[in-house]
């Protein structure tokens, strides 16, 4: 089951729905600024939520300085129930270099507005979006896509996935013919 520390909007409903108060569109930063203006992001989490996030954040601090490395930020957000693209995270971090990613660190207070921005992000994919996207490859219209084809798409389009990532993702999902029932697959994806 998803950990209780899922990042949610203040109403604590099932979905991390777009926040009621429109944040000053942090994602649409002015052209001059390379990064998002995180200081302008209004934090709308409850005290309990912040405590949960702080706990999750702490688990990722392997140095003991109450900070985490840039290259851990995406994973912490994922641990908290979000699905940021790497591009979104890079934007929040001010488009860091590879060196920055490994060596720069951010404190919890700096992390919160980043998380808030991702939660506020309006166009999140849901069950139907995933299913529709995968249905494109269902040539026979029988509810399955070829695992091999899916692997090619995942490794050549978008934010390309590595073979290791794809193997982990597809483990146990292909039937004896190498097909994937994509509706079941998406349900499985969304259950965690």
């Amino acid at each position: 089951m998803a950990p209780k520390k899922d990042a949610k909007a203040p109403a604590k409903k099932a979905e991390p729905a777009p926040a009621p108060a429109p944040a000053p569109a942090p994602a649409a930063a002015p052209a001059a600024a390379p990064a998002v203006d995180l200081s302008a992001v209004k934090i709308e989490f409850s005290g309990d939520q912040i405590e949960d996030y702080k706990e999750a954040f702490g688990l990722f601090d392997r140095v003991g300085d109450n900070k985490v490395a840039y290259n851990q930020i995406a994973d912490i957000m994922r641990a908290l129930g979000q699905n940021p693209t790497n591009k979104e995270v890079n934007k929040l971090l001010g488009n860091p270099s590879a060196d920055d990613m490994a060596n720069k660190r951010v404190a919890f207070e700096g992390f919160l507005p980043m998380l808030q921005t991702i939660i506020n992000s309006p166009n999140k994919a849901g069950y139907e979006d995933y299913v529709e996207g995968l249905r494109v490859f269902d040539k026979e219209g029988n509810g399955t896509v070829m695992g091999a084809e899916l692997r090619i798409v995942l490794s050549t389009l978008g934010e390309k996935m590595t073979e290791a990532e794809i193997d982990a993702l597809m483990a146990g999902q292909e039937d004896e013919n190498g097909g994937v029932n994509y509706e079941a697959f998406v349900k499985h994806i969304m259950s965690v």
């Binding site: 290259n71 995406a74 999140k124 994919a125 996207g133 494109v136 995942l154 969304m190």
Partner: protein
């Protein structure tokens, strides 16, 4: 969700009509790799969204069995 849907529509139509758009003289049933819209920004944006969902799932799944060791567990697995 509108942006995701428009991205998907583009992804779908780009995937299905790729062969017709290019000077591809092969039949549609030819090697599926010809159908992949590698340069279509909308298709790529839509793919990135799916991949983001997959990566989120995998991180959460990886964290489930352990409670304390997640941070260390992922030390060697530094990709985002």
């Amino acid at each position: 969700m509108e942006t995701v849907h428009s991205g998907w529509d583009s992804f779908v139509s780009a995937s299905l009509s790729f062969c017709q758009q290019e000077e591809c003289s092969r039949p549609q049933e030819e090697e599926d790799i010809m159908d992949i819209p590698l340069d279509d920004p909308e298709a790529n944006r839509a793919a990135a969204k799916i991949q983001a969902g997959f990566r989120g799932h995998m991180t959460r799944k990886k964290m489930k069995p352990e409670d304390k060791a997640e941070g260390e567990e992922r030390q060697e697995d530094r990709g985002q």
